[in-house]
């Protein structure tokens, strides 16, 4: 079948089962938009900034496990994708970014809106391509989707010169991808299973560390069965939250810099850490020399480069978590760690996560009220900052794979655009965005996309007039000199109204329940502007460079005890 290059691009997407593309047009991309009319099965969403296209594709991919697709024109369109692509790279999210490029004949001449986007994105993509010949186009797109979703997933960018989009293209979708040297390891050899099982069976104080890889591998059931079989507590990384229900007696919640005390104490006192699809990020481990000093490490990851990168593994295992966990569970008899769990229970009681904030609207109460209104079953997208940590600590995710946030890159402005993709993935129920007033103002233009697509996204702005987490660091580590962190903003209620989005301001805890219920029960989008306590800090906090055992708790807690 003979197509133009642009038509072939869409036909490839159809073959990959893509039905939604987050896009922004421009001169070089015109042939793609023109050809889109012939492909009614693909819904194209016009975002208001290309960064949002990348985040939306990312949100969609995290929520569905399928490859998200974004599309931008050459030059500034392509460079605007960069933050979104880097976000996906750091969190191993499969997206394919399509960028139009100036015609092949003028590449390298600094033509209008020409930029070397494959050069720019080289370190932030799993792989990227500049298509130089029409005959390569279909193969390249096939490879791009294959690479994005297999092994350790990640973003792949394909740069498409305009003349190739206009020119003829023979369409034959290759069945197989041939990439010599690319062999994502998915199975573990049995002797490792036996060795790993022995280490697990010998442990007295094991802790399972669940990372984002549990979601990527869709290994939630396997994780629960494994944890139950070995009777070991499960600690999450930030992105590992919702890998096991917060209701589960073995679920401890998040450890790390702002982790809950008992999760940090369990991790630090463990004699075996079973790390599953997590990469020992510095925000998780705290000071490395002090990290879990008595623990052996059984490290499972699909990417060999993550193993022993920061913490040397006693037993390294490369493989797909589903397979590994299933095999490990089979290889192990039921274990009993009741004394260890009882010890953790004591820590849980002696270092509870309480709300000590004074004033009309403590931020933690907003998250707790959201938990009650959604019974912990809500789908949440959070931005980056204090509110993100409060969500991680206080929400209590009962539903699997229900929390989406930018972990590795820590991209402020991620939540609203990402929620577009998450909402499309969950069309039947609302998606909740929890965002600070700073992060919201980084991508608030997407309110227009929310309204245009009639997406029932509920936005909770945690509005304290500060870039709160940075302000907290200034308070604790920079002599409380608040430079560059007080931030003003518009009247968010009026702003929402001007997009036709109903909104309400919340100033006191007493108003929360009703306001969140109103948001929940409104058909369509809703915005809540929550005027939270300005100077509230996130506790516990592990100070940079110190051990996770030395977490600092809310000073008001001790005052209360006295």
């Amino acid at each position: 079948m003979r197509y133009t290059g642009a038509e072939a691009v869409w036909e490839c997407l159809v073959h990959e089962g893509v039905d939604i593309v987050w896009a922004y047009p421009g001169g070089a991309a015109l042939p793609l938009f023109d050809a889109l009319a012939k492909f009614p099965q693909i819904h194209h969403v016009l975002v208001r900034h290309e960064q949002a296209a990348a985040h939306a594709a990312d949100g969609y991919a995290r929520a569905t496990g399928r490859v998200g697709v974004c599309l931008a024109t050459s030059g500034p369109g392509a460079t605007n994708l960069v933050t979104g692509i880097a976000t996906a790279m750091l969190d191993s999210v499969p997206i394919v970014a399509l960028t139009a490029q100036v015609a092949d004949s003028v590449i390298g001449t600094d033509a209008f809106q020409e930029i070397n986007i494959t050069g720019i994105t080289l370190p932030i993509t799993k792989h990227n391509y500049l298509v130089r010949h029409g005959k390569d186009l279909v193969r390249v797109l096939r490879e791009a989707f294959f690479l994005a979703r297999t092994g350790r997933p990640g973003p792949v960018l394909v740069d498409l010169p305009k003349d190739i989009l206009i020119g003829p293209c023979e369409f034959q979708y290759p069945e197989r991808v041939s990439r010599p040297g690319y062999r994502p390891v998915v199975r573990s050899v049995p002797y490792q299973i036996q060795r790993a099982a022995q280490v697990v069976a010998d442990a007295k104080r094991p802790v399972v560390l669940a990372g984002h890889g549990v979601h990527v591998a869709a290994a939630w059931e396997e994780l629960r069965r494994f944890a139950e079989r070995i009777n070991a507590p499960v600690v999450s990384t930030l992105l590992g939250l919702s890998a096991i229900s917060a209701d589960h007696p073995l679920c401890l919640g998040m450890a790390g810099m702002h982790g809950v005390a008992w999760a940090n104490l369990a991790t630090q006192n463990a004699d075996l850490l079973i790390a599953l699809g997590m990469r020992m990020d510095d925000r998780f481990t705290g000071s490395l020399p002090h990290f879990a000093p008595q623990a052996k490490l059984l490290h499972v990851d699909i990417d060999p480069a993550e193993i022993s990168k920061r913490v040397p593994a006693t037993v390294p295992m490369v493989g797909d978590l589903r397979f590994v966990l299933e095999a490990l569970t089979l290889a192990l008899a039921e274990l009993d760690h009741r004394d260890w769990l009882a010890q953790i229970g004591i820590w849980r009681t002696s270092h509870p996560l309480e709300v000590h904030a004074q004033g009309p609207l403590p931020p933690q109460e907003v998250i707790r009220a959201l938990h009650r209104a959604t019974e912990g079953e809500g789908i949440l997208v959070s931005d980056v900052g204090q509110h993100q940590m409060w969500v991680a600590q206080h929400y209590g995710f009962r539903r699997l794979n229900s929390f989406f946030t930018s972990g590795g890159l820590g991209t402020m402005g991620y939540s609203l655009p990402a929620s577009l993709g998450v909402q499309v993935a969950h069309p039947r129920e609302p998606v909740w965005v929890v965002v600070g007033d700073g992060g919201f103002q980084m991508n608030l233009q997407e309110l227009a996309t929310v309204a245009q697509e009639r997406l029932p996204i509920k936005i909770i702005i945690m509005n304290n007039g500060y870039l709160g987490l940075v302000r907290q660091w200034q308070e604790l580590f920079h002599g409380a000199r608040y430079i560059g962190t007080p931030i003003s903003g518009p009247d968010f209620v009026q702003l929402a109204a001007s997009y036709g989005i109903p909104a309400q301001r919340v100033k006191a805890t007493a108003e929360l329940e009703e306001a969140i219920a109103a948001a929940r029960d409104t058909n369509g989008p809703f915005l809540l502007d929550c005027k939270i306590e300005r100077d509230e800090n996130v506790y516990p906090i592990v100070q940079p460079g110190t051990s996770n055992t030395d977490f600092v708790e809310d000073p008001r807690r001790r005052a209360q005890e006295k």
Partner: protein, 177 residues
């Protein structure tokens, strides 16, 4: 520590930049980088000599293996079976009085005279990079006007070949059968 990575990679645009980026992002200086056709069609063989901490370079090698298009990556630093060769061109200043001495020293190092002018000699030498260093050392007093080195290439003695080289023990434990 000085590390030597030998790799087979697919010959395609951007591959050089991808490899270079592995070192550049960590601020390592690459001592030499050579690339050329291998015995396999469409496959380039590269040899990279780089200075850096061993643990970090172990991570670089792992990241190298992850590059799409990388087929084989081996750290041969500690392999005693490796032979290394490099080629050098050097132009030394001579006059009627010193020319003969330069020629005899070149002869000692089995360097060839490839060009002669009234004031210079161009010499070509091939061998282990350390030997070339020594050769340059003895030539230095004459005055080195210009020098060009190709960078070292490495190959294992005996019947072993890189493409069939078993994965290193540290990798083997990661790989499925």
């Amino acid at each position: 520590m000085r590390h030597v990575l030998v790799a087979l990679v697919q010959d395609e645009p951007g591959m050089l930049a991808r490899m270079g980026n592995l070192f550049a992002r960590r601020g390592y200086n690459v001592e030499s980088f050579t690339a050329g056709k291998s015995e396999l069609p469409g496959i380039t063989r590269v040899t990279i000599v780089v200075e850096g901490p061993s643990r970090a370079l172990d991570q670089v090698a792992k990241q190298f293996r992850k590059l799409i298009g990388a087929i084989k990556v081996a750290d041969v630093t500690a392999d005693p079976e490796q032979l290394s060769y490099e080629m050098l061109l050097v132009k030394v200043a001579v006059n009627a009085r010193t020319r003969q001495e330069a020629v005899s020293l070149a002869d000692l190092f089995k360097a060839r005279i490839v060009d002669v002018s009234s004031t210079t000699l161009m010499l070509e030498a091939t061998g282990d990079p350390d030997k070339l260093d020594k050769f340059l050392e003895v030539m230095r007093p004459f005055g080195i006007k210009e020098q060009a080195r190709t960078g070292a290439v490495f190959m294992s003695r005996g019947a072993k070949v890189l493409n069939q080289r078993p994965v290193s023990p540290s990798d083997r434990k990661y790989l499925a059968e």
